[in-house]
Symmetry: C2
Subunit: 229 residues, 2 copies
């Protein structure tokens, strides 16, 4: 066993919590927290790259995906501001991370984070809990994608976005990604996503505005019903 830390509420844990709301404690301990700006479609990292850094999304949306040998792309998750990407145990990234729109990330040294975690139980536990949440998200997507119809998938996706948007969003969801990104997340084609959105509009459950980039949820309960949730 490595170091035994007996303090029940470690200051590290606290700092991590604050970090998610914009505090600087983690930055302080992990130097080299440089910022990086990305244009739409620019990559944060690619499959096979050495895993040198962990990134926190500051602004924009980052798509985490895997490329199939035949060129198809499977988006696993979208990372939003506050989310961390690039965490893992192996030497190389097994997924790619690409900005769906102009974005900003903060870079932390992966090795520094890991050596810290080796002796800091609450930091390690924090990492554990974070990845658990990722796992929940992945499994939730698995449920959505596995055996649901197009309308269920799109409805579930819109609801998930809406929930992420928080209370202030008032039923307005901004789609900061292209139809192709949504399609690759949901395991559908661009055309089906488009058709499904049209169908939802005709059903008066949503409104699509501003060139299809903004969706207004007109009937959330109905949408939840359609999503089978």
């Amino acid at each position: 066993m490595l170091a035994i830390n007996t303090s029940e509420t470690s200051p590290y844990m606290q700092s991590f919590r604050q970090e998610s709301r914009g505090g600087r404690a983690l930055d302080d301990r992990l130097q080299q927290a440089s910022e990086r700006r990305l244009e739409a479609k620019e990559h944060v990292f690619c499959e096979g790259d050495q895993r040198t850094h962990v990134y926190r999304v500051e602004d924009g949306v980052i798509a985490i995906y895997k490329t199939l040998f035949d060129g198809r792309r499977r988006i696993i998750d979208f990372a939003y501001p506050g989310d961390y990407i690039g965490l893992g145990v192996l030497g190389e990234h097994i997924m790619s991370a690409q900005a769906t729109c102009a974005s900003k990330v903060r870079c932390f040294s992966a090795s520094a984070l890991e050596s810290l975690a080796e002796t800091d139980a609450s930091l390690a536990l924090k990492l554990y809990k974070s990845v658990c949440q990722d796992l929940v998200a992945a499994r939730s997507l698995l449920v959505t994608v596995g055996q649901r119809s197009a309308i269920e998938r799109v409805a579930a996706f819109l609801l998930a976005l809406h929930r992420r948007g928080g209370e202030g969003s008032k039923g307005v969801v901004k789609l900061a990604m292209r139809r192709s990104d949504i399609a690759d997340l949901l395991g559908l084609t661009i055309e089906t996503v488009s058709r499904t959105l049209t169908k939802l509009r005709e059903m008066q459950v949503i409104d699509v505005e501003q060139g299809g980039t903004t969706v207004k949820l007109r009937d959330v309960p109905r949408l939840a019903d359609l999503a089978n949730e």
Copy 2:
């Protein structure tokens, strides 16, 4: 994803694979490791149950699944001997665990494990790394299920089973679960699974024996090709 916040939802962690190679260290520190036998279709725990224990599969196969509102069942993973199920952070189980065949599990106190991890960085780090592996597995399934044809899914499933079986299996894969379990894992119907197995047999890629419970892989490279891997 990876929000570093403190929401104490009950992320669910399925297997703790390091430990499976590591021998008895965990047993030593977590007493009360009683054994429990399960018949086929018996539950280890259900969605909503209080998360009192963590289980290590000793024998058999346990299906981890979630039930949709309309009764459909989505299997997230199969846990094999050596895998841990029921790990998470707090609260209640958000998935159900059900034996697909006669099985045996060993029970550990969840609270004991967690209080240990709070002060033991290496244990917490192990939890972190383990859940990372689960995450990889979940994402891999997501790739399989998301946008692949029936034959690709079944081929990938057989290959995954074969890899798990280890070197000694000599191309023989034992299906310790029903067609319905495979179907619910792959997001297909029982009929499609059956038809696909028949097709693979007609293509002379596999042989199906013993009432459909044993599959012999006759042409692994071809199977890998079909799986698009």
